[in-house]
Symmetry: C2
Amino acid sequence: MTTVVSQSCHCGKRRECVVYNRSVCHAGSADAMAQLNRIAHRRDYPRGSVIQAQGEACAIVGNVVEGVVKLSSASVNGDDHIVGLLFPSDFFGRLYSEDSRFSYEAATDVSLCTMNRSAFERFLADHPAVEHEMLKVKLDELDAVREWAAITNGHTTMQRVATLIYVFSRRSRNQFLAADQPVETIVHVPLSRRDIADYLGTTPETLSRNIQMLARGNVIRIINAKQFELLNPAELIRHSGESREDLDRIASA
Amino acid sequence: MTTVVSQSCHCGKRRECVVYNRSVCHAGSADAMAQLNRIAHRRDYPRGSVIQAQGEACAIVGNVVEGVVKLSSASVNGDDHIVGLLFPSDFFGRLYSEDSRFSYEAATDVSLCTMNRSAFERFLADHPAVEHEMLKVKLDELDAVREWAAITNGHTTMQRVATLIYVFSRRSRNQFLAADQPVETIVHVPLSRRDIADYLGTTPETLSRNIQMLARGNVIRIINAKQFELLNPAELIRHSGESREDLDRIASA
DNA sequence: CGATAACTTGATGTGACTCAACTTAAGTGG
DNA sequence: CCACTTAAGTTGAGTCACATCAAGTTATCG
């Protein structure tokens, strides 16, 4: 388990909020933060629970404080695709839309800092500086989604798997590592094989085969289903088909 | 050729700007529009020219007035992937970033309403209402990109091809059709096979085979390389693997 | 400790990529 | 305006990566 202290959400209180530094919260004045604090509520969801169903009314928005939220789109034919993963400090929910195009589900046990959507929209209207920050965040997200789309589309399954493992290695305990910090040797991927496969656009079987192949090649060592030891980072990068710079950019997006 | 009157860009002048209704321009006051008009310049680019190269400094932003702009990401190994297509009224360029993660290229002859990036950023800072509109547009775009990613990932090439042709059929002369309007029988796809293939994540060969297959099944009739007659829309939708509602939503995004 | 789910491994079929030849369209200069 | 050139698109044959189906193995939880 992570050592991050679990606490109630105080988005306005700089030093107390675990996700403060990276969330949009930090853009507002002290006054604004106090206002935010009044409408924010900490809520926990167990693994597998649906935070927001596809097509349903968007009532809440907020930040992920702990755990991983998957953003997925279910097709008519049953197979759903994970179109995004949300980590601590990431914003979730769909602003300015009555219903959500995607479903938000807890991929692990999660803890969220939730706010009523319209209350937060009113807050944004009163605080253009925060809305400006939100725009910048969403523009970055747009780039990241497009980049990921390019990867899942043009590359082999092995390249996608290697990319994913490397990206997760750069997020120690799901926090972010600066590009100049050394690669973590223990990689924690808190998702099920099914979820990873859905995210990478493959099947659990093919995914498993590729992971085992990396293990047989001594690139990684499988500690258990959700933890790997990174034995040969350079070789992993080679398998990803991306440059190290690109990978680090993806990881920080 | 389209019958849209080609004229200089007057973003501030409601009735004169061809893309006015759908661009972010319409959110500002008359005063704001006059200000925009001063920094906007109409520029034409011939097919194939690079508007903004990948990794280069982002100097200009603006709206597409005529033609199609492709947003692509070139990999180190040479193969580039088209991560987005921009149609008239779509905003292009990357705000608040020094360099562009993707390249913007003219997929057809295009006409753009360009503005200096920092000048437009200053304009946005002065006009929160327009920035708010920009945020909403970008949130919609984010949904659309994710939706498209889900399609290209989980579906067969035939499904992608059928989806693309249907979506283009809903954009008569690259303008947008309301969902209740009848499907255009003549579909104009102004892109090369290579570009379509890059966009769909396949090869020109496989793409060609699928198009010919649709033609042999009397779903479409190939008028020439860039124009098709839609003989059987229902069958095209069936091939897409999507519901009609989903397709129409994608088309209008 | 038994039951159920999650993951792995194996065998098999096929959709799509690759390489290559051919056909059609577009562009160029005499 | 037409031969010539070059690009764009189509068609074919062969191969391979990946999905599918199925069985086995390892975790997880009551």
